[in-house]
């Protein structure tokens, strides 16, 4: 083709790709930290601070 088309497609792929990777990494990290609280928490959870 002519270089410009590839550059355009690559730019979109790179931009959306890196943002998605950041999103996935961040949500994985948060999932390991946050323990969802279900109802009243009678027994205090043991978790490292």
């Amino acid at each position: 083709m002519n270089g410009f088309v590839e550059a355009g497609y690559a730019a979109v792929a790179a931009g959306l790709g890196s943002y998605s990777i950041w999103l996935t990494a961040k949500s994985k990290k948060l999932r390991t930290v946050v323990v969802p609280v279900k109802g009243d928490d009678i027994n205090p959870r043991k978790e490292p601070d």
Binding site: G8, A11, S27
Partner: protein, 237 residues
């Protein structure tokens, strides 16, 4: 199906439709009579721009929902923020792909065309919105203030656009998009174009849900640490 599964499904649909759009756009569709291979950018650039506008629309609506007392809920604020951030990503990509398209078409990377100028201002407007979100400490205060800022941006966009259109028509006639907007589109070109819009909308959906979940998890984490601090002082009684 659990919520996580749904989100994963949306992500999978987004990824695979974008992949199909890429294959169709880059190899299957024919080159255009006037623009040659350059026309292939039409499967990406307008779709990305559409998502940027969609994202800011969602930000405006959810900001309005937050400010209205009957529907006030912190979730609206989180949604507005998530959508604005995704919108900024898509706006930046709109500018980049537009510029890449512009170089061979008009001979320059940038021209003060009404659409380009409005899009550029849109990017800085919402960068300002995101910057404002970072400076407020108190959660409720931040939500209210950023909702007002989002409304200001929303009202501003048509005024910006109108002023830029007049500005340009007084200088030179806009010849920029004429050639691009009426190519004879039919058959697989039309399908690819449609698929492009759909696929990037799915990408938007997935990203907003993900970003919203992250913000929500951070919100819960702050709440938990407050609860824990209270328990440590008061005891579990």
């Amino acid at each position: 199906m659990s919520r996580d599964r749904w989100v994963a499904l949306i992500g999978a649909i987004a990824f695979s439709t974008v992949a199909v759009t890429y294959v169709m756009g880059l190899w299957i569709t024919p080159p255009d009579v006037f623009q040659g291979n350059l026309v292939r950018l039409i499967y990406v650039h307008p779709a990305v721009a559409w998502v940027a506008y969609l994202a800011y629309g969602v930000t405006s609506l959810s900001s309005l929902a937050y400010l209205w007392k009957k529907t006030r809920n912190y979730r609206w604020d989180l949604l507005a923020a998530a959508s604005a951030e995704v919108g900024v990503v898509f706006t930046a990509l709109t500018l980049i792909t537009g510029s890449i398209w512009g170089r061979p078409t008009w001979g320059v990377w940038w021209t003060w065309d009404a659409r380009l100028t409005t899009t550029a201002l849109l990017l800085v407007l919402y960068l300002g919105y995101l910057a404002l979100r970072r400076v407020s400490e108190d959660r409720e205060q931040r939500a209210k203030r950023s909702a007002v800022a989002a409304l200001i941006a929303f009202i501003d966009v048509p005024i910006v656009h109108q002023s830029v259109v007049w500005w340009k028509t007084l200088h030179q006639s806009a010849t920029v998009f004429n050639a691009d907007l009426n190519p004879k589109i039919h058959g697989e070109m039309a399908w690819t174009l449609l698929l492009g819009f759909l696929s990037f909308t799915f990408v938007y959906l997935w990203m907003v849900i993900k970003r919203y979940d992250i913000a929500n998890a951070q919100f819960n984490m702050e709440n938990q640490s407050v609860e824990r601090a209270i328990k440590e002082r008061v005891g579990t009684a």
